[in-house]
C-alpha cells in the first residue's frame, strides 16, 4: 500500500459530527447497568474443588456412620458358628485344668498325622483327645464311622455317643464320643488319624493323682478315727469312708479310660472370617462410596458424551455458518 493512500484514508475519514457526539454524551451520562457479570470461571474454579471435597467428605461421613453399625451379618454368623462350636466342645470336655498340644487345623496336617504324643505315666490322669478328620463323601463317611467304631471296640473301649447325619446328599458329619483305656489312647489317636485327613486335633490331660491321693489320705484318717469311735460317731465315720471310697472309685474309673472325640466330616470347616476394625470398615465404606460416585460420574459421562459431542458439533457448525453468512453479507453489501 502506498503511503499516500494510507494518509489519504486517515486524513479524509471524517470524525463524528457534533450532534452524534452530544447524543453519545447523553447516553454515557446515564448510569451503567448495575448488573454484575456472572462469574462463570470463578464459579468453576471454586465449584469443582468444592464438589470434589463435598463428595470426599460425604464418603468419609458415610464411612464413619456405617462403621458404627455392627459388623456384617456373614462375619457375625461366622464368628457365632465358631463360638458355638467351641462352646459345644467345651460342654463335652468337662472340667479341664491343663491343656496339652492344642493343634488347630494345620496346612500340613497330614504330616502330623498320629504325631500327637500322649505321655505315658503311672500317675492317674484324665486324658481327652479330640480329632476332626476329613473324609471323602457321604459313602466314605459311613464306612469310616463303622471303622472307627470297630477300632474302639478292638482297643477295649466303648462308644459313649454317636451322632451321624447327612443333611445334604454330598455333605455329612459324624460325631463320635468314645472311651478307650488310657493305656491304648495313643493307639486310638493314631488309628483314628489314619481314617482321613486331619483337620484339627487336640489332646488335653488333667492330673487326677493329687485328688486321688487326697481322697486316700482322708480315708485313712477316718479309718484311724473309727478305731476309737463308738456308736453313732462310728456309724457316721463309716458312712463318710464309704462315700469317699465311692468317689475314689469314680476317679479311678475316669483315670482308667480316656475320652476321645472324633468328628468325621465331608467338608472343610469354614475359615474364620476376620472381622475388620472400625477404621478399616470406615475406610472400606468411604472407598466404596467414592468408587460409586466415580462410577456414576463415568456412567453419566459415557451416556452424556455423545449428546455433548453432538451439541458441541452443532454449536461449532452454527457458529461457522454464522461467520460465513456474516462475511457473505458484508461482501454483498
Amino acid at each position: 500500500m502506498s503511503p499516500d493512500l494510507a494518509t489519504a484514508l486517515r486524513n479524509e475519514t471524517p470524525v463524528a459530527p457534533d450532534a452524534l457526539r452530544e447524543r453519545i454524551a447523553l447516553v454515557a451520562a446515564a448510569p451503567p447497568s448495575g448488573r454484575r457479570p456472572f462469574p462463570v470461571r470463578r464459579l468453576l474454579a471454586l465449584g469443582i474443588p468444592a464438589a470434589l471435597a463435598a463428595s470426599a467428605v460425604g464418603a468419609a461421613v458415610i464411612g464413619l456412620a456405617s462403621s458404627n453399625k455392627p459388623a456384617p451379618e456373614s462375619a457375625a454368623n461366622a464368628e457365632l458358628s465358631v463360638e458355638s462350636r467351641d462352646q459345644a466342645r467345651g460342654r463335652l470336655r468337662a472340667p479341664l485344668r491343663r491343656s496339652l498340644a492344642p493343634i488347630p487345623a494345620p496346612a500340613g496336617a497330614a504330616e502330623s498325622q498320629g504325631r500327637a504324643v500322649i505321655p505315658g505315666t503311672n500317675r492317674a490322669q484324665d486324658v481327652q483327645a479330640y480329632l476332626t478328620v476329613l473324609v471323602d463323601g457321604t459313602e466314605d463317611l459311613s464306612a469310616t464311622t463303622q471303622r472307627a467304631l470297630r477300632t474302639t471296640r478292638r482297643l477295649g473301649g466303648y462308644v459313649v455317643n454317636v451322632q451321624y447325619g447327612t443333611p445334604e446328599p454330598t455333605e455329612g458329619t459324624a460325631e463320635l464320643r468314645v472311651r478307650v483305656p488310657v493305656s491304648r489312647v495313643q493307639a486310638a489317636v493314631v488309628q483314628f488319624s489314619e481314617l482321613g485327613r486331619i483337620l484339627a486335633q487336640q489332646v488335653q490331660i488333667s492330673d487326677l493323682q493329687q485328688p486321688l491321693d487326697e481322697l486316700t489320705r482322708r480315708i485313712r484318717r477316718l479309718e484311724r478315727r473309727a478305731q476309737n469311735a463308738k456308736g453313732a460317731e462310728l456309724a457316721r465315720i463309716k458312712r463318710e469312708i464309704a462315700a469317699l471310697r465311692r468317689e475314689r472309685v469314680e476317679v479311678n474309673r475316669r483315670a482308667a479310660f480316656a475320652t476321645v472325640g472324633l468328628d468325621l466330616t465331608t467338608h472343610e470347616p469354614e475359615k474364620k472370617v476376620v472381622v475388620p476394625g472400625r477404621l478399616e470398615r470406615a475406610i472400606d465404606d468411604a472407598t466404596g462410596v467414592l468408587t460409586a460416585e466415580l462410577a456414576i460420574g463415568a456412567y453419566a459421562l459415557i451416556v452424556a458424551a455423545p449428546i455433548l459431542l453432538l451439541l458441541a458439533g452443532g454449536y461449532a457448525a452454527a457458529r461457522a455458518y454464522r461467520r460465513f453468512a456474516d462475511q457473505r453479507l458484508l461482501e454483498r453489501a
Partner: protein, 177 residues
Amino acid sequence: MAYTECVIDVTTARPSFASVAEAHLDDVYRYLLYVTANPSTAEELTSATFERALDRWHRFDPKRGTAQTWLCQLARSAALDHFRAESRRRRRESAFAAQAGPDAAELELPDDYGPVLRQALRTLSAADREVVVLRVVLEQDTQRAARVLGISPSACTTRLNRALERLEQKVRPRLVA
C-alpha cells in the same frame, strides 16, 4: 482522530464508561461509516452501539482486550444486524431488489473524502472496507483486527492485502491522471 485519556475508576481498576465513550466515539463512527458507507446509518448504528455498550458494560474486561476492540465488536454486531434487516426488507420488497444487492445510491460517503477516494471506496464491498478501516484508519494491529472480524490473523492479513489491492487499482490511475 481525537485521543482522550480514559478516567480510571480506582474502585474497580477499569475506565469509566463515559471516558471510554468519549475516547472511542470517533473510532466507532469511522468504523461504521466505512462498513455501511452511509453517514446517517453510521450515526444511527453508533448510537445503538453505545447504548448496547452501556447495557453490557459490566461484561467488559480490560484484561481480555482493549475498549476499542470491544466497541468495534459491538459495532460490527450492530452493523450485521442492520444488514440482515436490510436484506430481509429487500427480499420482502421484490425479488429483483434481492438479486440486485445494495443500491448504489445508498452508498453515500460524505464529502470529506476526496472524489477519487470516495469513488474507489464505493466499489469495495463492506467486508473490504471493514478490514481497511480497522487496519489502516484505526491503526489496529493484526491481532486486534482479527479478533474484531472473528477470523485468524493470517486470514485478516490476506483479506487486507486483497482489499488494498482492489483499492489501489481504483485509486492509482486517477491519482496519476
